[in-house]
Symmetry: C2
Subunit: 492 residues, 2 copies
């Protein structure tokens, strides 16, 4: 391990970048804006995938796989969607390389291998999927279609940051087709709720469920539900979205069905997705100046055991005990690693596991053997305690639950303390500037006001919370009437 | 269900194509050569993935993720590899679309958004991965690196067929780095053996493990291990490969390490992969003229229960019994579906489950309730029997094991009956023409002879089996001396 991380107070953004790399989560690649997700980072993503996949299947969805490429003619069919993504598309134009006659050993694009129609590397898959659904749907009996896809997508972003905004990212995208508007709307809400449950129960990350304003909606959606989380620097992060697409894609791709009355009608649609961006959200919600902090439900190793020994004899005895504890914990479904490397000293191991956010560290030395104890260190509180060896597996089981809960509550307190109601634009700017977080304010409902506030403060409307109460007021910016508050914030 | 499948005898190739589509496994998409994997097909692929992933982790591998794109300069670094894939690459040249000034509502590639360096959509990831490994490896302490990636890859094939050869396909690719030649060679063998175990125990598909000849090797490999399976039409199918890459990629990307003696040395490499092509192999190994036949270990539904009833009253009582059986089976870890759709008659349900290869079908009617029996139909043998209801879950458990075994043995018999030793070129051609399968023949070891045999018969050397016995002979084609036989076949 090299020297310490930059602290959050010194430079939050630098702290994040360093942490991602030093904790072995991901790194930049030779391809502009594309990342390499390293094994430790990928193991966390796999845990997210497994739980989300379980939740999708439990709510009746099946996985499938659609092509990586979208022919340009399909891409442009739904105009708003196309317009929304046209400026950030990777475009395949050729299908062959040839030896470069001018440069021995080098290749060049074969000019004779130009595609008749360009292919867009999917930035999202509505177009290719709805073009496919057309052939799958004739009657109401073919509905609903409830499909999810795990895939990579590409959006040619100019400013990229590991996990938060990368040119290629991994995600899941659900695409569903329904008989009625109300069924599709219910699906979009349901999946947003699945995301919220996952974020809170699994990632220990509190989120606000809400609706996006028109200007922040997904291109091609009639309504976008979202979950918004708050990072420790007071900036909001959109962690997942679920779109009610109306009949827009059905109309663009001519997907009609015979309803129960035998009449032809356009199909209603939703789409919803979360991505490796969640890794960024996870990191920034819980981590501290010592490195990553992981909720036990997402930790590749929930427990590490580190032997403290001076000679081979001690090591042998300690290893016996450690292996016994490890197998006991595994029997309870707890993931545990016995870190018996002889290439590293205990101090270096401690530092590494701290940096990598292992929830519990168990140290066992010769004195512990004498006393029938072990030392347990919690990553979330950075506290240590000596506990009896004979009750260790239940102690650990309880501690893991406690950590999961503690991380959620800590993040929830922070979040709740950073929702500030303001009633004037001066107050609005002052809170944004000095405190950060969500600013709850009245807004007149116009794009124009939203845009002007953004220009002047860099804050955007993160969402109109689903549980917002009706409250007559006046817009903090324009003074025009407003029916309820909305949440503004600077955002990732 | 529409009309029957074309039979294998009528037109094997047509039978395959129809089966894939009618059994709802996959279909062609709007993108040339790219397929849509439908939920039922994808559920089978997910089962393959889960088992392979378990086996990879059990042998010490971790998953990670590397970029989809390979910059041209990296792509061409390992010359043989580059040459091997240059003719079938999808190439990204631009990163933005713009409104087409000549066609309202249409988009065109923005000529100002040309990439400085073209990006190749990965046909395989050695180049991007070895360029990354360079930064990860300094000393022998950093080795071995044992990484696998689940990903999509693109090879611009001209003639495509669902699952067997598609422009985009899903696969896993292992990429490992080692201190010594022998360790890398052992890894390549180990992973080929993992593939063989998976194919035989899980897919019930017998395979021959062998080495490829130079002309059939992976571009950039020094040795390619493979598993070769035999399809029912007598053609071989390469089902997985594992490559010993020597120091080729380490040299191309300058990946050196300090060995235990403190000297700098190039790292030794392997790579290995299986793909959605295995779906094609699975289908063609077991299926029949009635449709798909699935080994129980890969069946999304191992058992379906179909109620036979004339009135609502019968349906209620039967459903009660069916649900009880279903939950008993689920308790044993058996996947079961109670097909209680009221939109389909029992005959149609039977036909669908037969077409989709469900291993066991349980029918329950009013008479069964009276007699305390059910009817069980086996998909592999197409036989039915009446069994006692009270022992049903153990009966089914045993039957599933029996089916798994029976499918393997059936395929093994077929395969073993289709390995024919020949000692003259006339015999060679006659066996290929009239019987098909593997032809075991002496070969002089030259590319030239291999090439000529291919030209005249379309047969290639599938492999030099690992367990081949030394046997002095003469080449069937050239009459030159040979040390052992090799296996020829026409292949997919």
């Amino acid at each position: 391990m090299s020297k310490k991380l930059t602290t959050r107070a010194e430079d939050y953004s630098k702290w994040y970048n360093e942490l991602v790399v030093k904790a072995d989560l991901a790194e930049n690649s030779a391809v502009r804006g594309c990342m390499v997700i390293k094994p430790y980072g990928y193991a966390i993503w796999e845990k997210m995938q497994a739980e989300l996949d379980r939740m999708f299947k439990e709510t009746g969805h099946q996985n499938a796989y659609f092509p990586l490429f979208v022919p340009k003619s399909l891409f442009e069919a739904e105009e708003k969607n196309a317009e929304g993504f046209a400026k950030e598309c990777a475009i395949v134009t050729h299908y062959r390389l040839q030896t470069d006659p001018d440069k021995p050993g080098k290749l060049r694009v074969d000019p004779d291998a130009k595609l008749e129609e360009e292919l867009i590397v999917r930035p999202t898959s509505e177009a290719i999927i709805w073009n496919t659904y057309r052939n799958w749907i004739q009657s109401y009996r073919d509905l609903p279609i409830l499909i999810n896809q795990w895939a990579n997508v590409v959006r040619w972003e100019m400013r990229t940051r590991l996990f938060l905004r990368t040119a290629e990212f991994l995600w899941q995208e659900g695409h569903t087709a329904h008989e009625t508007k109300s069924e599709a709307m219910a699906e979009a809400k349901l999946m947003n709720n699945v995301y919220a449950t996952f974020a809170e129960n699994f990632m220990a990350m509190p989120v606000i469920q809400g609706l996006k304003t028109e200007s922040e909606r997904f291109a091609g959606a009639e309504e976008t539900f979202c979950i918004e989380a708050l990072m420790q620097d007071g900036k909001a992060l959109q962690a997942g979205t679920s779109h009610f697409l109306g009949q827009n894609f059905a109309k663009a791709f001519d997907v009609k069905f015979a309803n129960k009355e035998g009449k032809q009608d356009y199909v209603w649609a939703t789409s919803w997705g979360v991505s490796t961006r969640l890794m960024g959200a996870l990191i920034m919600t819980h981590s501290d100046d010592f490195g990553l902090v992981l909720p036990p439900s997402l930790a590749p190793n929930q427990v590490v055991i580190v032997p403290i020994y001076k000679n081979e004899e001690d090591f042998t005895v300690i290893s016996e005990v450690a292996n016994k504890i490890a197998s006991e914990l595994k029997g309870k479904g707890i993931s545990v690693k016995y870190d018996n490397r002889d290439t590293q000293r205990p101090g270096a191991k401690f530092a590494q596991h701290e940096l990598q956010g292992v929830p519990l560290r168990v140290a066992i030395g010769p004195k512990d053997l004498e006393n029938g104890t072990v030392e347990i260190a919690r990553r979330d509180t950075l506290t240590k305690e000596i506990v009896a060896m004979d009750a260790i597996s239940s102690t650990i089981e309880n501690l893991l639950e406690e950590i999961q809960e503690n991380l959620f509550n800590k993040a929830l307190n922070f979040r709740d303390n950073h929702i500030t109601e303001v009633n004037s634009f001066d107050e609005f700017k002052s809170v944004l500037e000095n405190k950060g977080g969500f600013v709850s304010a009245h807004w007149d409902g116009t794009n124009e006001t939203e845009e002007k506030i953004k220009e002047q403060t860099k804050a955007t409307i993160r969402c109109i919370p689903l549980d917002i109460s009706q409250e007559v007021g006046v817009c903090v910016f324009s003074g025009k009437p407003s029916k309820h508050r909305v949440l503004f914030a600077k955002a990732y």
